[in-house]
């Protein structure tokens, strides 16, 4: 995996801890402000998901999500969290931590460690922006 300088990591096999919000997500429309369930999947090639946190303000504040069992090593885990959408713009993020203690890095922290030229094994926190129409879009936040 090519790093930000001219060096590359050799033999990188594990997919490190990662998560993604599957609902809401691009293509799914929020129909008006109110209560929604944020839901998604988390997994780690290094072990078992210990916790997943969810943010609706681009990572300024985080709430612990509930995990749906069984929570097994190297297996996707469904997480969910309640969210009251006020109808304004929002940035949804999920951040998983596995039982090795590794937490998903921000995109900036990921880029600082290994640059963004590697392509494979990208596991930074993913962000969906929500606009006033209730549309979700992938953004870097």
């Amino acid at each position: 995996m090519l790093l930000k300088d001219e060096k590359a990591w050799q033999f990188v096999f594990p997919m490190e801890v990662k998560s993604v919000i599957t609902r809401p997500s691009p293509g799914l429309l929020l129909k008006g402000s109110g209560f929604y369930e944020i839901s998604g999947l988390a997994w780690s090639g290094n072990g078992t998901i210990r916790q997943v946190e969810v943010s609706a303000d681009g990572g300024l504040s985080w709430a612990l999500a509930a995990l749906q069992g069984p929570v097994l090593p190297r297996a996707p885990v469904r997480f969910r969290s309640a969210w009251q959408w006020n109808g304004g713009s929002a940035v949804l993020q999920s951040r998983a931590t596995d039982d090795t203690g590794m937490m998903q890095p921000t995109r900036a922290a990921f880029a600082e460690e290994r640059g963004l030229r590697g392509f494979y094994h990208y596991n930074a926190i993913a962000s969906w922006s929500i606009n006033e129409k209730g549309e979700a879009a992938n953004v870097y936040a």
Partner: protein, 173 residues
């Protein structure tokens, strides 16, 4: 409670052992002669290279007829991966090629013989693989046009990015 757990475990072990002995016997041992056609891996140090040979001059004809349609004339600007040139210099998108990225020339022999041409892999003779590997290395300025590549000389080729790899710092325990 503290006694129950070991007892329960013991029960599982004692019932599991006969179950294993009665497991269905799938498959059969493979004869060395049957395995040989599949055992074609080449080590970074050249282990496994066959006693054949080729030069870039010979490889050019192989490349034009077997590779160029996808990889482009002289290994650039094709519809598939570039094989020559490229750069992994910092601060811009990388173009990883045999010349700019690969640490070992021996991998080129393994990969071409195993996987190329895409639509008829394993169709090249060992001489053709050596020759086309020499041609690709020549396109990258790594070997001369008439240098004979064989098991001895290929593993001695020093690739430009030979020292470009460092261990992954977080191997799982």
């Amino acid at each position: 409670m503290s006694m129950l757990k070991p007892l329960a475990l013991l029960a599982i072990i004692s019932t599991a052992a006969p179950a294993l002995a009665q497991a269905p016997q799938f498959g059969q041992p493979i004869a060395p002669a049957d395995l040989a056609p599949w055992d074609i891996g080449i080590g970074p140090d050249g282990a496994g290279l066959p006693p054949d040979r080729g030069t870039a001059t010979q490889g050019e004809m192989v490349f034009i007829s077997k590779c160029q349609a996808c990889h482009g004339e002289k290994g650039v600007n094709g519809t598939n991966d570039a094989l020559a040139g490229g750069s992994i210099a910092p601060g811009k998108p990388a173009l990883k090629t045999v010349g700019s990225y690969w640490p070992y020339a021996t991998t080129l022999f393994d990969y071409v013989r195993r996987a190329m041409p895409f639509q008829e892999s394993k169709s090249l003779t060992n001489d053709e693989v050596y020759a086309v590997a020499a041609y690709i290395l020549n396109l990258n300025g790594i070997v001369s046009a008439d240098e004979i590549l064989d098991a001895q000389s290929l593993q001695k080729v020093k690739m430009p990015n030979r020292d470009g790899f460092i261990p992954f710092p977080r191997y799982p325990k």
